[in-house]
Symmetry: C2
Subunit: 367 residues, 2 copies
């Protein structure tokens, strides 16, 4: 343990802040009577998923089958894969997983629905599905409208599939120009989904679950009547992009990367041992560039992480800054979810002291 | 094995192309009478390092101590860490590694040199060091000039340190506007280093090794008399950034990422199961933006990987393209070296058929 503490680059999680973040989102959902199903792609750590469940989450969300398998192995019993699963190898794994836990999966095409139906029939399962809706991110999902009603109708005709509801991810909120626009996108996300659910019901399709959510939009979408479930992920940690969107304050940020100055080649330049293989190149999700540099150096406003190569971070210094080889800096990364995916373990701390080492068990589980 | 083949996203290495790339660089060095010490950060796979040695490399280069440890475990006996190693925990590991193999390490400050000297004295070692020179990347390293002569002189006064020579990395070649500028930077890199070596010798400091190299500049720097060693890394795979620099052709690219179409939500849009957690966000090293999109879809010029979120790649389609859910595409990534770091294993193929699974043993070894 001692060695890890001083060996950089290291991903550090402030466990007190983490627990506070987990509790605050749970409290928001309790207050609104909405189910919380946090997305674990942000942390990929079973212990954190279990803490989220303990705090009141009804289950978890995963992006990939491999993540879901890893979480099931750790004892999570209710998982939604908010993605399309296709192809024989993955469908076989999906069915095996569905046999052991309460599993649901996204669908946004009839072609994929038929694959899901077939594997469910072959394995004697009834597979829970949710139709993915595009509320503005323009990634996967059907646009709200008659095509959703039609797909829902066809899904209901298949006894091996159980249509639970609809889901969306308003990830375009990460392209917002500020908190007001984030709020607008969040409310719109909730309203579009609630209205679509009413239309589906009017067309004879029961809609048990209306699931929305991203960390920026969660609190706004939660205000909309008819929304039944939130799926934020990043809120366990927050990061510099969330700060830029006005979603959190520095004091909420639970994940940092600790790095060491390895070179001071010029008065206005220092180099740390964390590059893009520790901090990643994210400047703002989905193409936006919200932030200055590649992370916030805590307590050192005169330092800017100006460039990253793979294993080097190049810092620009205000002339007044004192920084020498061997000095350790602590960085709030731009995007916590992709940083986590670069580390096998994270160091859990309490009040700045090492408390435990957590394994990022679902790291790299992109299949 | 069969399952892996169809399960995407998967990193695929064409072993025939890989071997050809390894042999071509070895032949270039043989022809020039220059030592080859390839950088393994690009592949992080012991079997590939051993193949490079078998083809004539005199040793390998690593960016991090953890990478070097992993390669030593696999039987590599001569490793240069082209980086500054600082701090008690790492220096202890460095000494342990140096006791078992032929190890050399970079240095660019007197402060760091004293640390190296101390651990060498404490453990009874003589540590081989090379002074890092900044030939234009402006990352680590001393600018060529009297400060190098001075540091070299001080290093030679320490009996526990053995000054082997000087090294540089002209990574600013990745910011070049085209092949002509790449060539200019490469020749300049070699000439600056050769001249500095002459100055050092004139000042009484023997210079055994004058080490340069990046994949783009390697062939140009190798033309300069006085250069003794090349350290290219990426050439084992090449990638879309190398193509943009005119360094390689599509047929040389040995690493691809295979992905599956999971959604076809609009006529001009498809979504694949490879996002930034499989392809990374690189658009060109060191801040340049050399390429269109986030990789080249092989054989499909009508497809552009326009956006990446963590687990989704969003493709823009020419209207004439036919692409459906379940279709598999093969992508030359923008930057092979960071893609490799996202996968635990890669699938080795020969003539399109699965041949072996290679473990990316040094993946994530950023400490």
């Amino acid at each position: 343990m001692e060695e890890l503490l001083f060996d950089t680059p290291v991903a550090v999680v402030d466990l007190d802040k983490l627990e506070k973040n987990i509790e605050q989102m749970a409290a928001l959902c309790r207050a609104r009577g909405i189910a919380l199903r946090p997305h674990i792609k942000s942390h990929k750590i079973p212990e954190i998923a279990l803490a989220q469940l303990k705090a009141g989450a009804i289950g978890i969300t995963a992006a990939k089958l491999g993540e879901a398998e890893e979480m099931a192995r750790a004892g999570v019993k209710d998982i939604f894969i908010a993605n399309q699963i296709t192809g024989p190898a993955k469908l076989k794994r999906l069915a095996a997983l569905a046999a052991g836990i309460k599993l649901s999966v996204g669908v946004d095409s009839w072609r994929n629905a038929r694959e899901l139906d077939q594997i469910a029939r072959e394995t004697g399962l009834v597979l829970d599905v949710l139709v993915e809706i595009d509320t503005g991110l323009h990634r996967c999902g059907l646009e709200p409208g008659p095509q959703v009603i039609e797909l829902a109708k066809k899904l209901r005709e298949r006894p091996s599939l159980h249509l639970k509801g609809i889901f969306t991810h308003a990830g375009h909120a990460y392209g917002a120009r500020g908190p007001a626009q984030v709020e607008e996108i969040g409310r719109d996300e909730g309203q579009v989904m609630a209205q679509l659910a009413r239309q589906l019901k009017a067309a004879g399709t029961p809609v048990e679950v209306v699931s929305v959510g991203s960390t920026p939009t969660a609190r706004h979408a939660a205000q909309v009547p008819g929304v039944t479930e939130l799926r934020p992920g990043n809120y366990v940690f927050y990061d510099a992009i969330q700060l830029a969107l006005g979603v959190a304050a520095v004091g909420n940020c639970a994940l940092t990367v600790r790095a060491t100055v390895i070179s001071r080649p010029a008065p206005d330049r220092a180099v740390i041992d964390a590059g893009s293989k520790a901090l990643n190149l994210d400047k703002g999700a989905h193409g936006a560039s919200l932030v200055r540099g590649f992370g916030i150096v805590l307590g050192r406003p005169g330092l800017t992480i100006e460039r990253l190569s793979e294993e080097h971070g190049i810092l620009a210094l205000d002339p007044a800054e004192i920084l020498d080889v061997g000095d350790v800096v602590e960085i709030i990364p731009n995007h916590a979810c992709t940083v986590i995916n670069l580390f096998d373990t994270v160091l859990g701390t309490r009040k700045g002291k090492a408390a435990e080492v957590l394994r990022v068990a679902a790291r790299g589980k992109s299949r």
